[in-house]
């Protein structure tokens, strides 16, 4: 068994390619850009929620107004 594993000693050490450090720097810079992007997405979602709340409350008001018209005892036609 030991002999079988001895062949692993023939594996030579190799150097990584030169461009690898640039790739690491690129990834570090990309990670730095991420937080503002996250804030932008958060702001967009908050705006959407605010818009939804606003439109929902407006539609409730509109509905209640229409109900008032229907429930109104005044019927001008009946006086003609």
């Amino acid at each position: 068994m030991q002999d079988k594993l001895e062949i692993l000693n023939t594996i030579k050490k190799v150097s990584p390619p030169d461009y690898l450090y640039d790739k690491i720097l690129e990834r570090i810079n990309n990670n730095k850009i991420q937080p503002p992007l996250v804030y932008t997405y958060a702001a967009c979602i908050l705006l959407l929620i605010a818009f939804n709340i606003f439109s929902f409350s407006f539609s409730v008001d509109a509905n209640s107004a229409s109900i008032n018209i229907v429930d109104s005892p005044l019927n001008y036609l009946s006086y003609e």
Binding site: M1, Q2, K4, L5, I7, L8, N9, T10, I11, K12, K13, V14, S15, P16, P17, L20, Y21, K23, I24, R27, I28, N31
Partner: protein
């Protein structure tokens, strides 16, 4: 860290070769090396110097390599149709063996051993890679793996037996 480039130059060969020894090909080793240095640069400020910096880098590199291989395995399992057995999937794992440090005349034999090493449990794999490929001492391996020297010896013996049985199959 005063000079990241100098730090990278000092440790790049260690990290890259360890990653190569886990995954067996250049492309994956490059990905793992990037992940290791990103983590090391990020966590350098909280490193407490309780162990040697090289020991810590070894630990980060081992964890990143194992995580990368697990993620790759998961991706392959999802990608291959449900009807394929797990044994068939593990056979495909070392089909992309492309270790630049392996001589052409011994490539076939080493690929066979690597394929069997890759089927071992994680701690068996780590102890064989550190002792037999990285040529670390038992003391260094015990520090890296955070276990006693006796435990390293026993782990290595069990790993050898298991590897031997896999090679005989």
């Amino acid at each position: 860290m005063s000079d990241p480039k100098a730090f990278y130059d000092k440790h790049k060969t260690l990290v890259y070769n360890l990653a190569l020894n886990y995954c067996g090909n250049k492309e994956d080793a490059e990905e793992i090396t990037q992940d290791v240095f990103l983590t090391v640069f990020k966590k350098m400020s909280i490193f407490r110097h309780e162990s040697k910096i090289e020991t810590w880098i070894y630990r980060v590199a081992i964890n990143k390599s194992l995580d990368y291989l697990k993620a790759k395995k998961r991706f392959k399992r999802n990608f291959i149709n449900d009807g394929v057995f797990i044994d068939q999937v593990s056979q495909t794992e070392f089909s992309d063996f492309n270790h630049p440090g392996v001589l052409l005349e011994s490539k076939e034999k080493i690929q066979e051993i690597y394929s069997c090493i890759n089927k071992l449990p994680e701690d068996y794999r780590t102890v064989i890679i550190l002792l037999k490929i990285e040529n670390r001492t038992y003391k260094e391996v015990s520090e890296i793996m955070k276990i006693s020297i006796k435990a390293v010896e026993s782990l290595f013996n069990r790993a050898k037996k298991k590897l031997d049985s896999l090679l005989k199959k």
